[in-house]
Point group: C2
Chain length 295, copies 2
């Protein structure tokens, strides 16, 4: 089969390990677009899986990852980042030779290094990260349009076979995503700045406010701290897996903040205005870029 | 006339000095709710005022503040914070004895101190701050419902006559606001934490990202940096007028952030999770409080 045939081939059975907000959204998106013939949800909690079936999120649930892996054409691991490498390692020996496995973890380098350190043949694994999410948790909030116009990063390694990268790219494109590929380390260093650091800062901002002052917090506080409502356990894993890059991003942020603070201390209006204009310029550039992507 | 009569009395002529996003929204809100019989917009640019008339934001424009002040029952100063004290001082001598003047500035203490230092009789002035806004500027974005369920802070001083405070309170309530009163210094110290610091942090976050990394910035970046798109000149004035409280808030934030950074450096999962949970807890408390206020 040549690559072109593979791209046009529809994915038969999709197995999603971890049917939460992201896993549930992928399931709903793939089912509603007719991209797959069946979605198996893999989890530990039979009752939760049953509820996901009843709510039309997945076709059926399985608490046996290895047997589900053997039936799937595409597996997506949507569990917290510190579990992904071991779950990929658990699935691989049971997968068909033609099957593909990918994930939705927010950190990529550590997963790749862990699999390499274990000496696992990971040619069927395509490290991935859909840049979409919510501060909510649970498949009850699953959104079939979550990946429309979203950026999806794939970080194939030298080991990853091209045919699997192409399949995962085609899958995400069918869900409406814009797919980019880059090195795992590049992904982690950029995401530290654009996602992990903002979360750390939002948590510090929210925690710094006294509870009885919250009544004087309005839309600025609402937006600047929204992501602080995310799951502390999930985010602890993300920070631990991407510690070095997050710390480097935090240093750059602190340097910018110190400049702003110094300008206020010195009552240096020109400097303060120039620094605020730099932030505005970058934020405006982001917005223009998004409008272009979404048009 | 006793206070109850005054509360039921409708405001005749409203003059708004500075017909931008906030001034324009007040004008639209007051007109659409029938709270006033006429809205005069005071500004420097005749063409802009004419456009505001054409768009139905105000009834008429005036480039002569003193003559407009003489006709108004209520004046609201909606200009940048560093201009407010001098504009209040300019209006007062021309106002009728029964007329009231208030403002919409984000900082209160400095305005009050400036008027006191000038020895101005400010019994008709009610310092105010509607906690509502946008990162957009201009009356084109004016929203007649901007103050629905919004918190409005009034900071009357010992000098302010009660009758004027009551009139401004009644006005904001008619626009849908929840009115609180407190000391100017308390307002400034709380707002430094809930509004001014988040703006400073958002600017630093946005400025820290390299332009070519913006394509990997998603909804977390969007929300945590939204307010960085605000007008640098406006915010320079706010930070300068509320420098001491903003610097104190920044120190508390930096302490929280340093704790988080140290927990990552030390790979202390329990500590990291506890600190993130503290941020989440405060953010969730804010959301519950808003839902109660809005229900």
């Amino acid at each position: 089969m040549n690559p072109a045939d593979h791209q046009n081939e529809s994915i038969g059975c999709l197995a999603i390990c971890g049917v939460g907000l992201i896993g549930g959204s992928i399931a709903r998106a793939a089912r509603s677009r007719g991209v797959v013939s069946e979605v198996i949800g893999i989890g530990k909690n039979q009752a939760r899986l049953q509820k996901a079936v009843e709510q039309g999120v997945i076709d059926r649930g399985s608490t046996e990852p290895e047997s589900a892996a053997a039936q799937a054409d595409l597996i997506i691991i949507c569990t917290p980042v510190d579990l992904i490498a071991s779950q990929v390692a658990q699935m691989l020996p049971h997968m068909r030779d033609s099957a593909t496995i990918t994930d939705a973890g927010s950190v990529k380098g550590e997963i790749v290094r862990e699999l390499q350190a274990e000496g696992i043949d990971a040619s069927q694994y395509v490290p991935g990260h859909p840049l979409a999410g919510s501060d909510k948790t649970g498949f009850e909030f699953a959104d079939p349009d979550l990946f429309e116009k979203a950026t999806i990063v794939l970080t194939p390694t030298a080991e990853t076979a091209d045919i699997h990268t192409r399949r995962v790219r085609t899958f995400w494109q069918a869900l409406g995503g814009n797919v980019l590929t880059m090195q795992p380390e590049e992904h982690d260093s950029v995401l530290a700045m654009t996602s992990h650091l903002p979360h750390l800062v939002a948590a510090a901002l929210a925690a710094a406010v006294q509870e009885d002052h919250l009544r004087l917090a309005s839309s600025g506080f609402r937006d600047s701290t929204r992501i602080a409502a995310g799951d502390p356990e999930l985010w602890t894993s993300i920070f631990r897996q991407n510690a070095a890059a997050t710390l480097a991003a935090a240093r750059e942020f602190q340097e910018k903040l110190t400049h702003l603070i110094t300008a206020i201390e010195q009552d240096n209006a020109d400097e303060l205005k120039a620094l605020l204009a730099e932030g505005k310029c970058r934020r405006d550039a982001w917005r223009e870029q998004r409008l272009r992507l979404e048009s």
